[in-house]
Subunit: 337 residues, 4 copies
């Protein structure tokens, strides 16, 4: 962190800042400038706690110059890091595609969707069992029964399975039935949940919060990593902006930014970003073209007819066509599917 | 909800929508227009689950015309609702002011801050014991020991005490030591936590998430209310925008909007909105002038010298001056302090 | 501006930055730190043109540490600056209130609205003659005929008049008929218009763009000031955020921020911020409580019945009630009306 | 537009709305519903002017159900529309690439950059002559001399040339020297400029404003189209969000949304969106993968050494490598380069 003093800061004010740093066991590097004096902080800044030096007389601003995350940083793993689940590798040369319905509804439905996902060439099946819903009056999911059906569908068609948990109490059940858990956008800063998942070692997809910066997202990943679980895959799923033509705005730039700052694999969720089925294909291709390591796409065997969980879910046929395009695109960015 | 059909939607497409509604036990009110056909949905829409009719052929858009919250709605309590804690009433004629440090640090510190809070004329003491921190390497709070010190400080000076919890496991301890809990912005959609707090009946301050709409905030309140806990006080604390001059942008308009749509008391947190001590006073006055029922302000007995938890914390003297101004302002909006 | 080098920047990379600065006639102040080397730039940075040093090898980031505006800066006028128009002073102890309809529609209408504005106690009349409209098919205003009617209404009731221009060609006509012009949010960065207005010396209200930072707003004011026109009054009218309950989000914090960074008077437009009549009163009071120098409010003599220009326009009676409240509030913040 | 009445609206209130519509020559289609009465408006709504019915007693909300643009709408040109300039076609099967420096600096520089742009395989040269600058103290461009140099460089290397204008006075000169003009993000709602450009028939690139919705962007295009100039190419260049890792957030979803709602060609500006050279390649590929008709990229022959106009400008070599990748990608989305 560096401290910018005001233009007219007095020598006494500058000295006060230096003294306060000293009180916290930190050194100071004072650089007088023509515009303003700049003070660099030397030493372990975690000693500052939630201190904010911006309060002190004569201080204009404080500028952080280092990331607060360490294990999530590219510096720690210049070659990148991969997450392997039963032979499937996130962050490798091969793209990973996850498909499946918004929610597990019943056995027939998840089996049929799984069949479609498998036929299209994906290797992971998704399906929500614990649904975070904005309103308490909306369907909250089948819970553990949903996990069991998901597992059965995965086993039947040779797919790995992934499902979201919204509270750490669900972790034990999830670990029994799924290969990978997902932490959703609303829980990206549920630090208690992050820590518990960190202690569990189970592979995890960490979605970006709709109003969180990339730095905050990597800080959230650090919560999991720092507890010893290195199996973290990031997922960009759109941020909240003023534009309403899409449910959220897919921040496709987040892919190269994450790749530069971090070593973690990053995938794209075009379904939640777009909120509309018709935009899923162009956003999927955009994400892969930008360097993403894979996709998580909502697919429902009967979206058109049943319309249950509809607007953003592809039919198995549309999903197969999408994957055919992804397969064509992959070599352009040095990947395969 | 009403469904807008596309301008050129066919009769068959319109009929399909009507049929699908029928399949879900819902009626349809079809209004042909010069521009487009509009279909109103009749019946209990919760039957739709997470169905999105926008997917269907010929459908242009779906427009919700009712709030999903019920108990939080002004319709349910046209006279407004109050939350009383030991004689102190949120939502009444008297404004409620909560003051105290960002975090409980040690006994001396919380006692001295409490003395300043009391002297200024506030009736509630705040102090963080469980701190939600962006980085896992930051100070995470004194936990239950912090709650005990907070209780002691409150008892010593005759102040009610309020503290944040970030996981439902903390609820039992919190209920022992505090008069009111706080759910922070990051947990506004931690639905598991909301439900548990709903079952507990403990008075709660529910802060707005930095990227949540007012509708989502009221939906979150509904989670607590619908479990039987009617002691909910809302708190506006700034939303995330592109402006960086302040930490967040205080959405002062949220006060009259909440007052119109809901019957819940609403207070303002100028400290987290501004992120800088120097803006706390004008924002506090703005909030009260807009109709807020009270304030929650960060106050530290020794902010200037100790600089621990500094930038947004007022000194007891500044806090007393602020409350003097609030006292002057209150009658203008029909309130007292 | 200071340059933050990457943690592992080489000596050669640091020297390259110093050399490039030297090529542009600038000095460099190199501060090695434990985390990263910081380079301060010495000299007149305007020589850098649109150079961006962030491109150079080894550079992590560039941080501006000085405002680019000078005349708009508080440093240039620590006592504040006032704008006087025929005895009415923006930025003085007395609050200034401007009222009037969205658009000048016809003679009777503007005369009646003026009567209401005068009766309520305001001293300025507003009315749009050149309307910036999102769609080319919307009413574009009465143009110069509207200005004449506005002048007549102002003269009839002893009110100063203010109207928006959207192109510099309108400046000559405007200067003939109005006391003060307004540059709207959409034209805040119409630099050609800003310069022409700067050369004209006519008093001007410069509204903040809906997506512009306070720094960009002050830079826009600098365009006018630097051409010699010091009669600039800023106007906060809401920014674009994700919240849709109000048309825009009134950034009430902008008032104290502007007051701290700049010496220019700043007023509030609650009508455009809210977009709904019912929120105009609480937002007006919030703005004044936060320290604003005045208000510009949409008022129409017949809003309820005629509904022309309706949703955000107050009736004269509502406007009079609002001003009565403002008059009560003013002394609390050391002002009068 | 449809009007949603409040749940408890009285028959009189409903009738009042119907009467007001009648006064404006509009019909009303009243649909009583179980939740609320919905009133559809029949007839030419442009008669409503800036009337907002939301003000009337008993009205809950007004919902627009039709776009205000007509010529920009896909309905008017289901097959899409192309813009041809000397054999180069925007919106055809072949992708169009525009390259060149931020600003024309001098003859040697623009000639060398043009050579690099040509060698890489692009067909259009860009270069700024009139620069819209946030601060009045920044370099404002070479103006007409810059246009002449740009023309010379284009002629020398057989490239079409495009340059931004920021005021309609520049249109005459621009029409003499360039093949296509650009309206920048800051002028997207400079309606005077849009109209003049509409009357001129010169091909134009219309960039999206950083805080403008796609609907507002199409409305802005309508200003040009409705004056008779159909040669409009849209350009997505990033929107303003809370994320600061990139200068703006490229809204890649805007490509399929524009393609669905409008018939106008749309290209991507990855340079301004990213603000950093290193992200230009992934964003370019993402834009093309999402269906964009082309790219406009900042290229400078000597970006690394001269650093003038640096951070977001590619070197000719990097640009050539980018185009090689685009050439590989094009067939995947049914295009060529």
């Amino acid at each position: 962190m560096i401290i910018l003093m005001k233009k007219n800061a007095s020598k006494e004010q500058i000295q006060s800042v230096v003294d306060v740093l000293g009180d916290h066991g930190l050194g100071a590097n004072v650089s007088p400038g023509t515009e303003a004096t700049v003070i660099g902080i030397l030493g372990d800044k975690s000693k500052l706690g939630c201190i904010d030096l911006a309060l002190m007389d004569g201080v204009d601003d404080c500028v952080p110059i280092m990331h607060s995350y360490k294990l999530a940083s590219r510096d720690m793993c210049p070659q990148g890091r991969t997450v392997e689940i039963g032979g499937e590798v996130f962050g490798g040369e091969k793209l990973i595609v996850i498909g499946g319905p918004c929610a597990v509804e019943n056995e027939e439905s998840i089996l049929q969707s799984a069949a479609g996902v498998k036929a299209a060439g994906a290797t992971f099946l998704r399906g929500g069992a614990y649904k975070p819903r904005t309103s308490p009056y909306s369907f909250q999911g089948m819970e553990v029964e949903g996990l069991k059906l998901l597992r059965k569908a995965g086993d039947t068609y040779g797919l790995k399975v992934v499902s979201e948990i919204v509270a750490h109490e669900q972790l034990e059940d999830a670990a029994k039935y799924v290969d990978m858990i997902q932490i959703g956008a609303r829980n990206m800063q549920n630090f208690q949940l992050l820590k518990e998942v960190g202690r569990s070692k189970i592979p995890v997809i960490l979605k970006r919060g709709i109003a969180n910066t990339i730095e905050e997202w990597l800080d959230a990943a650090e919560y999991i990593l720092s507890e010893g679980n290195l199996n973290v895959v990031l997922c960009e799923r759109g941020i909240r902006t003023f534009e309403t033509a899409t449910r959220n705005t897919l921040d496709v730039s987040a892919v190269p930014v994450v790749k530069e700052r971090s070593c973690l694999p990053v995938i794209i969720d075009p379904s939640h970003a777009a909120g509309k089925m018709k935009y899923v294909k162009p956003l999927s291709l955009a994400g892969i073209a930008a360097g993403a390591d894979g996709l998580i796409v909502e697919v429902h065997y009967n979206a058109k007819i049943a319309i249950s969980d509809a607007a953003q879910q592809l039919s198995p046929q549309d999903f197969a066509e999408l994957l055919a395009k992804v397969r064509e695109l992959a070599p352009v960015v040095g990947r395969s599917l």
